[in-house]
């Protein structure tokens, strides 16, 4: 039974069977592969959205939300955006290994030495220097800036491609909204899916930033806030926000080990309590710490619409399996004379079962091949319909494997009952 000759014999029987009813097998392959393809495309989207962007230390990176709004009607409780002095209180703590305090901005950039006046719209991360090591930002050239203040920037690969066509641009000077800043580092292509460090305001699937600038410098230059901000005081520019109740900074810390979470928590809680005792805010002390995966979960970065559609495609796959199953049943029924004959001349139940299994595995492989093509197609189609997902529509190798597995499983599952039935056809009845 296990001999190669038996296997090839089974294979050739399967091929014969396919040839005898090509339309029927075509329909089976078509329906199963559409089902698997649609589901696989969806799982690819869900996979990108639900994956851990920084698995090596996602449990040690902590996002901090605080509750220090000066009035009794805060926009949120607690708030994921912090005001300058609260954020600085976090940055100066020596409990965590390092911290990053930042906000999102945007400027127009050009190479000062360029003859072209074209300026490129660039997303800016105005941040403390801890950001680079905290996020494991990969450097191609140069290194991070070292201080909170300085006319220095690190740029991303995409901008470096656009302005310097990918060459080492360390030491070059950029004109950013009329100010001159020197490049000290250039990053490699850097993909974070999701963009965990800024998972709010619908930015979770944005690309990483183009320009990373020292936080204090960006504030001094008045680079405007491009993400959410809430303020209890009036201000006319970011440069005025340091001593006001303007909330716009996000803070992350990296802990040496996860046991420090409680130390960090009590550090923040006692700070909040101090503020409350001083009458600076009437709210209950409520500082929330989330590690990367907790934070992505809290912020629901997995698109709920895609989840809903995934449920629908699971049901669809079920329908496809049912369909294949009833098609196969009719196929086996039509071939029952042959089955009976083979049983009569000595094929055991096991033989018949193995033969049927070979056929469905082969069917599964064909289905898998078609399904992978279709899932790529459906992925493209999904992006057409849901353009917001463009950055995450990628078929990773593990999904290709999953698609193949799904195809095999569905193909075998749909053959199970028909096989069982076929093997119960009595020999005598068929040979009458």
């Amino acid at each position: 039974m296990r001999s190669p000759s038996m296997f090839t014999y089974n294979l050739s029987l399967a091929m014969q069977s396919f040839k005898r009813a090509p339309t029927l097998y075509f329909l089976i392959i078509l329906t199963l592969s559409i089902g698997v393809g649609v589901l696989c495309a969806n799982l690819a989207l869900v996979n990108s959205m639900a994956s851990d962007p920084i698995p090596e230390k996602s449990d040690k990176l902590i996002h901090i939300s605080m509750n220090t709004w000066p009035g009794d009607q805060p926009p949120d409780e607690p708030m994921h955006i912090l005001r300058y002095r609260d954020a600085m209180k976090i940055a100066e703590s020596d409990i965590p290994k390092r911290s990053a305090v930042f906000y999102a901005s945007g400027v127009y950039a050009r190479d000062v030495q360029s003859t072209s006046m074209k300026r490129f719209d660039s997303d800016v991360r105005a941040t403390t220097p801890g950001f680079f090591e905290l996020t494991n930002a990969p450097f191609a050239y140069g290194s991070a800036f070292e201080k909170d203040r300085g006319m220095e920037v690190v740029i991303g690969d995409e901008l470096n491609q656009k302005i310097f066509s990918g060459k080492n641009s360390v030491g070059k000077t950029l004109e950013l909204d009329g100010e001159l800043l020197t490049i000290v580092g250039v990053l490699k292509p850097w993909i974070l899916r999701p963009l965990f460090y800024h998972a709010t305001e619908g930015r979770a699937f944005n690309l990483t930033d183009d320009i990373y600038a020292p936080l204090e410098t960006a504030i001094d230059l008045g680079w405007s806030i491009h993400a959410r901000s809430s303020s209890a005081d009036d201000y006319s520019g970011v440069e005025e926000t340091r001593d006001r109740n303007a909330y716009y900074l996000q803070a992350w810390v990296e802990l040496e080990n996860i046991n420090q979470r409680s130390a960090m928590q009590s550090y923040l809680d006692s700070y909040s309590q101090e503020l409350k005792d001083a009458g600076e805010h009437p709210l209950t002390t409520r500082n929330e710490l989330h590690n990367v995966n907790e934070w992505l979960l809290v912020k629901k970065v997995v698109d709920q619409k895609v989840l809903a559609f995934t449920i629908a495609s699971v049901l669809f796959l079920a329908v496809c399996i049912f369909n294949a199953s009833s098609l196969l049943l009719s196929r086996f029924h039509a071939a029952k004379f042959e089955v009976g004959l083979r049983r009569a001349i000595g094929a055991s139940n096991r033989h018949m079962f193995m033969q049927g299994l070979t056929e469905s595995v082969l069917l599964g492989l064909f289905t898998g091949a078609v399904a992978l093509v279709l899932s790529w197609l459906f992925l493209k189609l999904s992006v057409q319909f849901l353009p917001r997902l463009a950055n995450i529509a990628v078929l990773e190798p593990k999904l290709l494997v999953l698609g193949m597995l799904l195809a095999l499983i569905t193909s075998i599952a749909s053959a199970l009952y028909p096989l069982y039935r076929a093997n119960r056809y009595t020999i005598s009845a068929e040979l009458k």
Binding site: G178, A308, A312, A318, V319, S325, S326, L381, F385, L386
Partner: protein, 404 residues
């Protein structure tokens, strides 16, 4: 037709019949919910905005040069822009604004009457009122309907850096929230003195229609760096002509600007719902595929059935059943399956609706939709089984004489 006999015959093929019924039920469940999604989206898109959306052009832009950090320079360029755009044939009026209507977030602030700051606690929507910084042309550009008082004028523009709030226009629903049915004119809010009340326009489609709170102040020149959009009221039929010209006109005034997009308010609304629409389209596509697969199943089901029943049908024919009777018999049998499938499908639709509601918002299924979807299933199923059914009715009586 003897239903009992039919049911008995169906029970002989429990497995295939069961599978088909399940398929039909799932298909119906999905079909109904997809239709709901599509209808919901269409309803949202058809909601009244209170705007002449087709004839309002939006230009979104941002200066690219550092020179614009000099606000006086910025203002002078913008003033020139406004003049030049107004000269484009077909442009009725043009204004500058910090944010667009039909948007979820944007610049929000709390609004209360200075005499009654506690009101904000009672109505949470008063905490997130849309604050529009614009100029005196806005009333014309958006063709706002004045209910009382007056529009903003050039005189409402304050000296730059003034710490006064100035005069404001508010929407009708905000007026109702703050002052009930009384007049709002001359009332002092934390955002300024009310000089006019306009009919509601759709500011944020995700909140109730009677909570479209908005405040308009003539302050965009003061905070010129917030002026991200030019709004153009264009004469009927001139939209495309103006659309083609406006970017060049702006860049001719001063070239160091990045013009992101020129689009109508109607397109802006479409964009707002693009994701919803995309999802509905995806669902409908899946439905199409599902009906296709189910039709194949129905076809295979009858085909399979015939191959097994050939002899009995032959006997029936021999006993005097006409072709018509056999056709009707096969079809009735299928219809019975569809009926069971659809009834089960109703349950499936409700269950599926509840399941989907965990993730997205959609309306409840109604009877009309169920009947319509059932009709689709019946038609598709009948078409798919027609060929096998006709084939069956062509089985000659002579089959009965053959013994197995």
């Amino acid at each position: 037709m003897n239903i009992k006999a039919l049911l008995k015959s169906l029970l002989l093929r429990k497995f295939t019949t069961g599978l088909l019924i399940l398929q039909l039920a799932i298909t119906l469940g999905l079909l109904i919910n997809s239709a709901i999604l599509a209808i919901d989206t269409n309803n949202k898109l058809a909601e009244k905005t209170g705007l002449d959306a087709e004839n309002i052009l939006i230009v979104s832009l941002h200066p690219t040069s550092g020179d614009y950090r000099d606000l006086d320079y910025y203002r002078s360029i913008v003033s020139e822009d406004l003049q030049q755009i107004k000269k484009i044939p077909g442009v009725e009026s043009v204004s500058l604004i910090n944010q667009l209507p039909i948007n979820r977030r944007g610049m929000l602030g709390n609004v209360y009457d200075l005499d009654d700051p506690e009101l904000v606690r009672k109505d949470k929507y008063l905490q997130d009122v849309k604050i529009f910084l614009t100029n005196e042309e806005l009333g014309n550009t958006l063709a706002l309907a004045l209910l009382e008082g007056r529009f903003l004028t050039k005189d409402d523009e304050l000296d730059f850096g003034s710490d006064k709030n100035g005069n404001v226009l508010i929407t009708e629903s905000l007026k109702k929230a703050l002052y009930g049915d009384g007049s709002a004119l001359g009332q002092e809010t934390n955002n300024g003195r009310v000089v006019g009340v306009v009919k509601d326009i759709m500011l944020n489609p995700t909140i109730p229609a009677d909570k479209q709170y908005g405040v308009f102040g003539n302050r965009v020149m003061e905070f010129i760096f917030t002026g991200r959009f030019y709004l153009l009221k264009v004469n009927q039929g001139k939209v495309e002509a103006v659309r083609n010209k406006v970017s060049d006109t702006i860049l001719a005034v001063q070239g160091e600007r990045d013009i992101f997009r020129v689009y109508t308010m109607a397109e802006h609304m479409q964009r707002f719902y693009r994701h919803d629409k995309g999802l509905a389209q995806l669902f409908l596509m899946l439905c199409g595929l599902m009906i296709f697969v189910t039709a194949i199943s129905s076809y295979a089901y009858s085909q399979f059935h015939i191959s097994r029943q050939k002899k009995y049908i032959g006997i029936r024919r021999a006993l005097g059943a006409r072709k018509k009777d056999i056709l009707l018999y096969v079809l009735t049998e299928n219809w019975l399956v569809y009926t069971i499938g659809c009834v089960l499908g109703l349950v499936m639709a409700l269950g599926f609706n509840i399941l989907l509601s965990q993730y997205i918002s959609l309306s409840k299924p109604d009877m009309m939709l169920f009947l319509l979807a059932s009709a689709v299933i019946f038609v598709a199923g009948t078409l798919a089984t027609l060929i096998p059914a006709i084939k069956t009715s062509n089985i000659p009586p002579v089959i009965a004489t053959r013994t197995v």
